[in-house]
Symmetry: D2
Subunit: 430 residues, 4 copies
């Protein structure tokens, strides 16, 4: 990941040294399990822990020779050890260490992403509370449809974020597994009991069945959830970009005092953060695709996934985290222009009340088909001649047969459209 989008604490999780520390953590957990089992003298792990230290450069040096990162790690760590070295990596295969440590890293990132998702939800919730009754035009196909509340928009993103939370939560549960089952997953040189004890110390469960590796559907699910999270944020970002269009301008991204929008046009205030988030969703989708392709490894494993995961896991988790943090910031600091929301109603000249008038006619006994045709005809007058729809309706003789002037006027009240909003808010405990 490039520095620009790498935020703490995610960034540190993916530092090389931290990776080796996790590897050491796994090796030590196994030795502790040996101690518990009685096959290593008490205190072995403690001794190793005291002497072992991670020297990244030394590891690189050895790797350049043996062309195998785990072997380089073992050699570098054990060259400072005495007799206890015998117990180090005993009965293990590289993937026992690498994949178990990877789970530690992914679960850790997952927890931070979960926190960031909660922060995002809170921001949405607060914005929703503020704008419970803020009338805004609802739009379908990009075209004015019927009035709604700005708060409902926020609740819509909140509901999606909550679903993503549920997905991430179940997924992290499946992800919190390790494997210490040896070269082909049959515990030939290490026992399921040792695995259980060691993994417990690491906060992980055993994979129900591992091959040489933890099966990749588990990781692919994780990335597919990140792709869902990313696409959900993109939906919000696209909404903001639309609402900030010059002709609409109902919301505005925060714009810092000294910020400059364009090198050529001093007047520009652009929704650049939302645009950035839109783009990033594409990356998250593409990373999921890579990990899907990593599932059908050959036999007990091939190592084709490894190169991709060195890139995809850090990048996907850091981007998801970045997006959530920025989306929270965006929601919290969004300028909401309520006046403009009402002004924009004028663009559609009361046409958006067409359904209500039609339904009122049906209510009064006109057939639905006849009412639809009549209203479509009247709305065409507004559309093509630019006459306000309310005026058109008020003057129409057929309508007068069914509805009184007073009744008609009431049909054009936008507040009517919010009458059920409270009930929706209650679903969110708001």
């Amino acid at each position: 990941m490039i520095g620009r989008y790498a935020l703490s604490p995610l960034k540190e999780i993916w530092e090389e040294k931290r990776k080796y520390e996790r590897w050491l953590q796994v090796e030590l957990a196994v030795i502790e399990a040996f101690e518990r089992e009685g096959t290593a003298p008490k205190g072995t792990a403690e001794k190793i822990k005291a002497k072992a230290h991670i020297d990244v450069l030394r590891i690189h040096e050895i790797e350049a020779e043996v062309d195998h990162d785990v072997i380089a790690f073992i050699k570098a760590v054990t060259e400072n050890l005495g007799d206890e070295a015998r117990f180090f990596h005993k009965g293990l295969t590289s993937s026992d260490v690498v994949d178990t440590a990877l789970s530690l890293a992914l679960v850790e990132t997952g927890k931070f992403i979960l926190e960031a998702l909660d922060e995002f939800s809170d921001a949405l919730k607060n914005k929703a509370k503020e704008h419970r009754k803020t009338i805004i035009m609802g739009r379908t196909h990009g075209v004015h449809a019927e009035p709604t509340s700005f708060g409902l928009k926020m609740l819509s993103f909140l509901a999606e974020a909550e679903r993503n939370r549920d997905r991430l939560y179940s997924c992290l549960d499946r992800l919190a597994v390790g494997k210490l089952s040896g070269a082909v997953g049959n515990y030939a040189n290490i026992s399921p009991e040792i695995e259980k004890i060691a993994l417990e110390r690491l906060g992980l469960k055993p994979t129900k069945l591992s091959t040489q590796v933890i099966p990749r559907d588990i990781h692919a699910e994780f990335l597919s959830v990140l792709a869902l999270i990313g696409s959900g944020i993109e939906r919000l970002a696209v909404e903001i970009r639309h609402l900030q269009k010059t002709e609409v301008l109902e919301v505005q991204e925060p714009f810092k005092e000294k910020q400059r929008g364009s090198s050529a046009m001093p007047h520009k205030k652009n929704p650049i953060l939302s645009e950035r988030l839109s783009g990033m969703a594409r990356l998250l989708r593409s990373y999921a695709q890579v990990e899907y392709e990593n599932i059908p490894l050959w036999h007990e494993r091939d190592i084709s996934h490894s190169s991709t995961e060195r890139i995809v896991f850090p990048d996907a988790t850091m981007l998801a985290y970045y997006m959530l943090k920025k989306a929270s910031y965006l929601v919290k600091n969004l300028t909401v222009n309520q006046e403009r929301m009402l002004e924009n109603f004028s663009h559609s000249k009361n046409l958006v009340f067409s359904q209500r008038v039609m339904l009122a006619l049906v209510e009064k006994g006109m057939s639905r088909e006849k009412a639809y045709k009549l209203i479509q005809k009247l709305s065409d007058r507004t559309w093509y001649e630019g006459i306000d729809f309310k005026k058109v309706v008020l003057k129409d003789p057929t309508i007068s047969e069914y509805l009184k002037t007073q009744e008609i006027s009431e049909l054009f009240n936008p507040s009517y459209y919010l009458r059920n909003v409270e009930k929706i808010y209650r679903r969110f405990g708001l």
Copy 2:
């Protein structure tokens, strides 16, 4: 979906007439809710149901004119109705009907896919039971690693299938939602209460917050689970294709008596079913990608997803179902050649026991680093000179200092590698 891969009962779910029937079902459920609420006379739904019938050609005729499928449907259905027509589609927007009916269809396909997944799991379970102790070479990087059991391979696919079951199950729960919340999702012309009653009759829950449509993250999750299922089957298919390679030939796909493998080469018996399944996984992955992109719809919805979903939903569900049914058939009818599995051990000239010898030396006090180097050197003799590794080990003077001939011989027993297999089986209740 092309006929070739369209199996019943999935095929019928996606027939056009069935779609309209589901739309009618939704419309009727709403009218029944009106009856319960008292805003439509008792018996209205019943009367409509009696008169309404789906005339696909008539719908097409009208659609050609109005360019809107739901309006065409309503017109076609209601033109045979009398006064009850007034209640038909009342207060609804097209998406209320279309999206709720879509959930009915998807949930129905989902249940059949779940069943097929269970059948697949059963097939794997049975095969695993049969081959608990069937020794086969475990392979990593495509290269002989250490012996394992063929049953464990089956359990590995079973474990993955179980995870996919869990994912599908949670996903179907999220998918079993409808929406009758009107044009922009705020229940302007229909109440949350009506929605609740109507959806209950359809076996669905209300979407916690809908816009004009059910949010697409819900559908994207479904397709991402199908992509996981597909990629899991691909893993199995790739395994079989590998094991059926001429040089390996440890398993064989069922080959029917009159089947022909090649138009040019009369001797060919190819794993064509596994190859077909491998390919199909690519389609399932790509459909998930499409639905991810359908998430960020504009505002309260745009309709860009519609054209894609007309293709992607039928195709993805039918393919997933097809793949599961065929994979079950494949597993059930797979020829397993146990003799050949043992014969193939000879290809690696006992090299696969290298770790055991190394560990035995470490056990006897040799340092891990020294043992590794020694064994690597000895195994190179096997590798480059073709001498059986057991012979090389037996003749090595250093090894003789640590291990007796009898001890060495025992290290070369493949059964050793299965000693923990029972414990793994127990995790599956087998």
Copy 3:
């Protein structure tokens, strides 16, 4: 492909019977080559042609038994032949026939797509000619930037279409290859000379090196070009959807007289065609992905690509064709509202002239940095206080030191921005 999007003549190309006809065409071309070479009696092909007919049901019947479509085809065709049957499929492998015939189909679809692309280009060219000087606000980040011409927008899509034409053209050249090189591509039972003659009759060249099949990078390139075409149309579709938003309404999709926009809202006129095209681009992108994955077939070929291509090739080509035809229709029939384009300038209160004012100041000797800051400050007054930017500029004392009132007024003339438009048009010979 579903009927809804299957247009003639693409639809017919993909009919099953046509596929078998192409297979027969390939088989006959080979026999004609045998005749030319002298290894089959003159007239053999003619005789076979007279007797052979494609009986789809009979082929299905046999395929149900032999589980191999080409063998079924050969058997069905030859069972009506006499002695000439000996020459039928002689020395060929199935893929010789299938892949060569596939090239025939793809090249045929490719030519129609090329034609449709030309029609699309023409539509854009005509629209560009009409609107050479039609002033419209240029927008970046969705925000007013600087004035431009609507014709230039059309030229932008034209330039992209032309690039796609070039790509498709080179790609079709690579695609116009067949292969008659036998089971593993080494011409064991058929000679390169026979291949050359036979392919020439079919309008194809030999693949420089085939395995059992034509290498799939060739097909993947084709689908990647279709994905580019699709994404280009999506760019146009998104532009139209934006310009048809209620607040903007500078263009409008054709809306048929009896068309209905919404089942609930009689007033709606939605850019549904553009939305449909946006969605379809997602499908084209995903099909390219599938074919990329089809490239790394095993050894001289595996058949995993086959199932995917039965779906992907018809669907991708039909969709690309559909999209181009509809995009042409859209461009030809687009309503362009020039008045509204000018009216919409008012939304940004002359802020879009900020760069010109800044550059004029720099021209007169102010430093760029100072000018930028000054203009940003002034434009903030417009932004936050709503005062027209021209007024703000006219009143600013610093600016008055550099520019006369008359000079300032001229800076606010939108026509200025079109002064180089003619030069751009000339690049297109317009």
Copy 4:
């Protein structure tokens, strides 16, 4: 890109400082054009070049404030300039600089990738020359098909590499464009003539029609070609992985003297490089997907592509380069085990000659259908009873009626299958 896969000189191209140097290069080229045109005093560019230097930290400092990287760059560079600063970035918009400079970078990477592709082709060509007549079993569906030459395999990858070269070459031609057409692409504040002169100095052509940016189909094509290159290398990598499987072992990746294959199993020699290359192809495919999605930018541009391209362009080009260099190394240093290739024929017990026997029978007058059935029956004896197919054929009474013993024996000569190999080599001038 992570350090592990970042090779020189690609790595340096993407260093941040180099980016700013390219920006400066573009700015200077414009000023030189001004000089030529006479709107800037002679020597301005020279003076600026002498004084301007890139101070990355200073740029970061300013960017933290103004939140716009190009403005920060301009400010940082011009704060050391005197009066010439007036001409710096004059009439330009950020994208003029950024996108033109991006083309410089991409074209530069493209040229190195082209070189690496040529090196890869040369390696394949040499290997093909060496193994013109090296007999190897051709395999389809992973199953023995008919004999072929190992050299032909190499030629197959060569032919694909050549096609990719053609694609890359045409693509680089389209990519070698810049744009200096201002904020919305209409040359409002800069003339097409200035653009032409400036771009010429940079070795670029003007984009036929740019918006604020160079249209993204151009970049997407580039990434789609890289995806094709990657998938082609994957095909080679998968081939090697197959041929290095323990049971096959016909080739072997280079294995360095001190290299270690597994931390657990000292005997392992794994095709890790090929596996790595297989995985990386997935990344290249996914990056293409991202850039396809970047095509439909809003109006004259939105900036959603920017964040993705900061990651995707460096990563995709560096990976493509890395893959080509490693693939060349792999091909050059591949161990080819000719003996083993012949030995492996025994696995299929001469079944692979079935077609030849069948064709010989047809040649002698037997009908194709009868011959096919007979040979399938005989090959089943080999298949199920393990009797060598040649023996079965020699003993069959029906065959004896058509073919003499001597004739039969000749049918089993693998060299027969190479008789047209020379003709294929000639197509490559070999």
